[in-house]
Symmetry: C2
Subunit: 346 residues, 2 copies
């Protein structure tokens, strides 16, 4: 499955070069780690033991080039929601509840209305997550950003009792993989989406009119479908974590199921996923068609309708499915192998 | 002193518009604060009470357009040092020691060599500060950054015993203001520097040759002087904090003494600063001359040689000066007034 990623590379993101940069940095990063750091690289967040009982979990992320779609349409509030929820989900995978959040907003020339719309979205999502928006930085950096563009990064800190930290080591062969639906693209794959919108995949630029028109097949306007905010799984999953029903969680972000499911598994185990157990939202079909993207690559770039995967022991499966009526079994953990094996046909 | 900022605005940074955006955001931010948040806006970091004894202090910042000078010269390691030390100093002003740091590195097209040079600088400064580089994100965002440019934001979390939190309320009229020297421009004022380097202030572009040539007046090559990393004050100041000799600290970043000293003072008190007590490094003269910048504006944009200001009770002044031989008294806290009053002549 880890085949070529040509279409995505043409859109400007080189996953392999990204991975090699990450490798180059790891030795430097490790040189700063003492016994208080409980996690290695590759997880969705870092865990820091504050004392014998409490572990702090932190993560940073951005919304990526979804921002460019938001900027084109002048809708910035959802970007704030996206950013917080992405970070909330990331630390949730280690079992942590959020404590506080900080944002870094940067642009070449500050538009106060845009910045405050983003921050109002950040604040709304923070309230929803019971998380303090503790601070932030607004930077005006002439000449660094393309005119009209901005970037916003989020930093989150949460905590978890030391005994409840999820670090992948609890997972066993035979565990069930249960899925929760994404609310759409979340915040990944937008470099490819932007290339389609700009006409770079050969089907001509997508007009404002097309973006805003109701599309029966998509179940709404393309603009709304693309900008649908990243969903938070905190409230759905927290009660299950408290009862110890979950062995690991994978947040399906950039790299899709293929790259993210393995981050929740220990060495020596892999995942088998049956893609016939669900139907991705119609927008993924639209992207594949408009972008000329193969099914294999779609699964490596997009979440394909799966936002979060819960790893649960088979004896808890029925209980979890009863309490999360929208969840379904999409596969299982298997001994040996590597990464994720999708059923034939993808 | 809070007069016009015209030269700086021409360079692309509008301090007043920045301030109004900040005002617009504050209500949203406050709506997320519960009793665990111990700080209001305006301090150098946010304080979050983890429990009865421990307060977490967090801050985020970036290196700003110093990056553009580094990129032009292909020297990226110092940028990592700058970023960590800036953040370390910010939370130090609340009395906190760093626990961990995360970085967000973003660019339109990733150059792994550049990214890993930055991260090696981050790691070196983290080791120096006894701080774990706990995580980070490397984002490739086509179309958002000007080609060849990148941005890197830092996020730091430290801790302080609740009884030792510095929040400005300890400061009294009559307290001495002691200064520690900056190592140069640190990370502020570079939008104006870049405008000079590009020839935008009328003196013609500064060539690579001029940047790299030894300049007797500057005491080195302009490139080295401009890129000198932001100094950390952690090790100099920590022992004094532990003994309770310091009532407040101001980190002199963007906005210079004029904007940053008041952040360390409670309402109703102001600062009187005698600028004849020290001589700024020659590079500040060079900037004022090449950029046609008035002395008043220089003090509003640059640190002018002062990197950190300690507010100490007069009875501790002699002790602190004896233990920090490089420190000097640059002024005092006075009743009433507003902000910072510089001696006549500036």
């Amino acid at each position: 499955m880890r085949g070529s990623s040509d279409v995505y590379r043409q859109a400007g993101v080189d996953i392999d070069s990204g991975n090699s940069a990450v490798d180059l940095m790891r030795a430097a990063v490790r040189s700063t780690h003492g016994p208080q750091v409980l996690t290695g690289p590759g997880l969705f967040g870092g865990a820091f033991a504050l004392n014998a009982d409490t572990v702090l979990v932190a993560s940073t992320d951005s919304v990526g080039t979804k921002l460019r779609v938001a900027a084109r349409l002048g809708r910035h509030r959802g970007i704030g929601v996206d950013l917080v929820n992405h970070c909330v989900n990331d630390i949730l995978t280690l079992g942590a509840r959020p404590l506080f959040f900080l944002d870094y907003f940067a642009t070449s020339s500050l538009d106060p209305a845009v910045a405050s719309e983003v921050v109002s979205g950040l604040a709304a999502a923070c309230r929803e997550a019971g998380c303090a928006l503790l601070g932030g930085e607004t930077a005006e950096l002439p000449g660094m950003y393309v005119p009209g563009e901005y970037d916003v990064a989020g930093f989150i800190v949460g905590s978890v009792d030391r005994g409840s930290l999820l670090d992948g080591t609890r997972v066993r062969a035979g565990d069930a993989l249960l899925a929760l639906r994404s609310s759409g693209l979340h915040t990944n794959g937008f470099s490819l989406v932007n290339r389609i919108l700009e006409g770079g995949t050969g089907s001509g630029p997508v007009t404002e009119e097309t973006l805003l028109a109701h599309d029966t097949q998509l179940g709404g306007a393309l603009a709304d479908v693309l900008l649908e905010p990243h969903r938070s799984y905190l409230n759905a999953v927290s009660p299950l974590l408290e009862e110890g029903l979950v062995r690991a969680l994978a947040h399906i972000t950039g790299g899709g199921l293929i790259e993210n499911l393995p981050r929740a598994l220990p060495q020596g185990l892999s995942a088998r996923v049956d893609t016939t157990t669900w139907t991705p939202q119609p927008v993924f079909d639209w992207i594949a068609r408009m972008g000329g993207v193969s099914p294999a690559e779609m699964y490596r770039v997009f979440n394909m309708g799966v936002g979060l995967v819960l790893v649960v022991p088979v004896e808890a499966e029925e209980d979890v499915l009863a309490r999360l009526p929208e969840a379904w079994r999409l596969g299982e953990v298997v001994q040996g192998g590597e990464g994720v094996e999708l059923d034939a046909g993808v």
